[in-house]
Assembly symmetry: C3
Homo-oligomer: 319 residues x 3
Amino acid sequence: MIALDLLARHIGIAYEGASLPIVALNTLKEAQGNELSFIVDAKHLQALKTTKAGAVIVTDAFIDAVPSGCEILRVASNPYLYMAKASYYFSKTPYESRRGAAKVDESSDIGENVFIAEGVRIAKACTVMPGCYIGADVTIGEGTVLHPNVSIYRDCYIGSGCIIHANTTIGCDGFGFAHTQTGEHVKIYQNGNVIIEDDVEIGSNCAIDRAVFGSTQIKKGAKLDNLIQVAHNCVIGEYSLLAAQVGLSGSSELGRNVVMGGQSATAGHLSIAPFTTLAARTGVTKNIEQSGKTFAGFPFMDHKQWLKLQGKLGRLLKS
Amino acid sequence: MIALDLLARHIGIAYEGASLPIVALNTLKEAQGNELSFIVDAKHLQALKTTKAGAVIVTDAFIDAVPSGCEILRVASNPYLYMAKASYYFSKTPYESRRGAAKVDESSDIGENVFIAEGVRIAKACTVMPGCYIGADVTIGEGTVLHPNVSIYRDCYIGSGCIIHANTTIGCDGFGFAHTQTGEHVKIYQNGNVIIEDDVEIGSNCAIDRAVFGSTQIKKGAKLDNLIQVAHNCVIGEYSLLAAQVGLSGSSELGRNVVMGGQSATAGHLSIAPFTTLAARTGVTKNIEQSGKTFAGFPFMDHKQWLKLQGKLGRLLKS
Amino acid sequence: MIALDLLARHIGIAYEGASLPIVALNTLKEAQGNELSFIVDAKHLQALKTTKAGAVIVTDAFIDAVPSGCEILRVASNPYLYMAKASYYFSKTPYESRRGAAKVDESSDIGENVFIAEGVRIAKACTVMPGCYIGADVTIGEGTVLHPNVSIYRDCYIGSGCIIHANTTIGCDGFGFAHTQTGEHVKIYQNGNVIIEDDVEIGSNCAIDRAVFGSTQIKKGAKLDNLIQVAHNCVIGEYSLLAAQVGLSGSSELGRNVVMGGQSATAGHLSIAPFTTLAARTGVTKNIEQSGKTFAGFPFMDHKQWLKLQGKLGRLLKS
């Protein structure tokens, strides 16, 4: 928690309004009265008009649309940069060296050289193999198996019956930066977490980023192969299957039973309908709205069209 | 070992036949009299007719081809799903917290925070750096170097003179699941191992899957760069060279001295002739039978053809 | 240090000249009087003529161009193979089990199960989380944060204010081999290091190779996402941004503020001008000399051209 006037001073915004206590940053849509939000793009104008945020960082372009009762942090330009600066004040320390007060069920088998931070809860019948790191306030459900050298950052939630293979990282920072006029990058602290539901299996050497706000989610029964990148704020639907070396950009939303072939990938901020199949190396560049279809290629297209295109290229080659 | 009638009951198959002791699952071709096999596809019909398996899971479509003396587990549909369920009963516990009775040569240098499970054998003059995990019954040959935080799952075999770089995982589970009618995935326990022959070097943050049955193999003198995916049951030939971020799908077989450029990949269940060269990003989609050739592209083609195609596309662009 | 005549004998070259003390291998251009160099290709002929190397491995093709005062190790063929053999004699042991005589500022928080080798220097206010490995003579600047299970090989340098995420490997061996006539690979020991400047952030499960000679460099303020491959002797310019699963081949040089999209990659030995933007999956195959441009595709082309090509292909498909 930080007082709004103090926060404004820290991040270099002149502010004469009320000294509201602020507990977090959030999107216009999700923010509550004790949270700070911001607007960068006119596409969020409607969300601004109806936001419940306690305060908002705005330029003059949007200032008239701020609802009454919402405090205004007015900036000349680049509100995203001020949001980045503010994010630091809501971040928790990434590491707490205390081991005190974790709650590990005695039926669970905790290997040697495992670090379990304060506030961790590990349910019955889990196996945590040597070299794992379990950050502060992580919850791990019944019967889950963590293979060696898995690293789980603070505040993440792993369900029951999950298997996480060796050297995988869960809850690392999403790749988010604001940029100064001189081309430097200011870190947007990633203050969300990762929620992995029951019966999920994740392969070796994967990287699952925590959300900037809210949660990156991997839903019940999804299965991920090795060396997969899941960026911040992705949602992977129930029973989805992701083959090795898949890369999901930020805020990709996969419906249930989506199948992604090896090395396939998504651009950010898009959604993929349930029961979609993506061939190996597919690069999804916009929303897939109709469920049950198969795609291939980059830019992606219907799989049959892609096969036809290869035939056409074969003929072009012979011409 | 489990009695066939008991196993049948566990996986939900009505069975009135003999109470045969079964020690493993295996393919029709490889199975012995104390092993259980299965048939999914007509392409394995010949293998069924000559199988030495003690018992087989079949639907009515193939039941007449089961050789005499081979017990029948008859299912209405989806034999693969029953095989998946059965695989659990042949799996070993992935982790044994006991350290007793490993055999480590006193000339080897074992770092701090290394976990060495029961049954491990480490030969002369090895270096095992801090944070490594060596699972039960792993064998490591003379002079091999394991860099920090390498994780080797149980039952794997590493030859002499190998170098494995940091944070690499060897012997993790292959990505194998059977699927229920309602779209859930049932794990096929990966009961094989990984065999790495002498003088192999593997880069950092690689994932080498164990076989579902039998062994994933990396043969003598092969060299792998960083961030490489080797799926279950692959065979990498002697002196092959795999550049960073290569991805091999399941049961890919590379002959000797195959060279794969960065980010190149294979589809599963195919073989690549010796002395084949694959340019960066090549995607191999079928067998390569003639040795000594160079390929590129996805779908892949002769490298010269690929260059010609790029020329044609350049002209198309200008047209 | 090894005497040149002794080294020649070890690697199988007849040499009757002076017994010069040699301390390292180096390129013709960089080598000093106490270093050994080599020439493989006529494109380095000019560098040979002006080299300050104390000695050089050459075939008869180049022997006349060796400057006076530079000792000659004459070989019939494959000087690169002899260089590889020689590299072994300049390599340091990758691991020293001694912990003595590190210099860790008492304000830094060093987690459990961290290995800190001899000669390490860790400045003020650092956080080194559990399971990290810090090799001999590594330097870490003020306020840097190492997340769990990061492995840093010996002799590397990390600046101030850096963040390195979990399971990342820094300073692992570059992928360098010479080849015998019978197709075996002889390791070129990677005797350089990695230098990471201030305010760099590197994601999870990345692999940053040490240089063969000299240093792999990541310059001030650069930000790398997860699962990235940086090969030996790369130089990443100030404030560059590399998205997940990017792969840089050996000796790629990026200017400042280069932006690389997900899964994009470079071929080796090329340079990319400052302020270049590469779309996701771009494959850079030659130098980019003009700054501030945007590229896409593989082989890469101007981004607008690439979009136009996709339009042409769309029309081809409909034709």
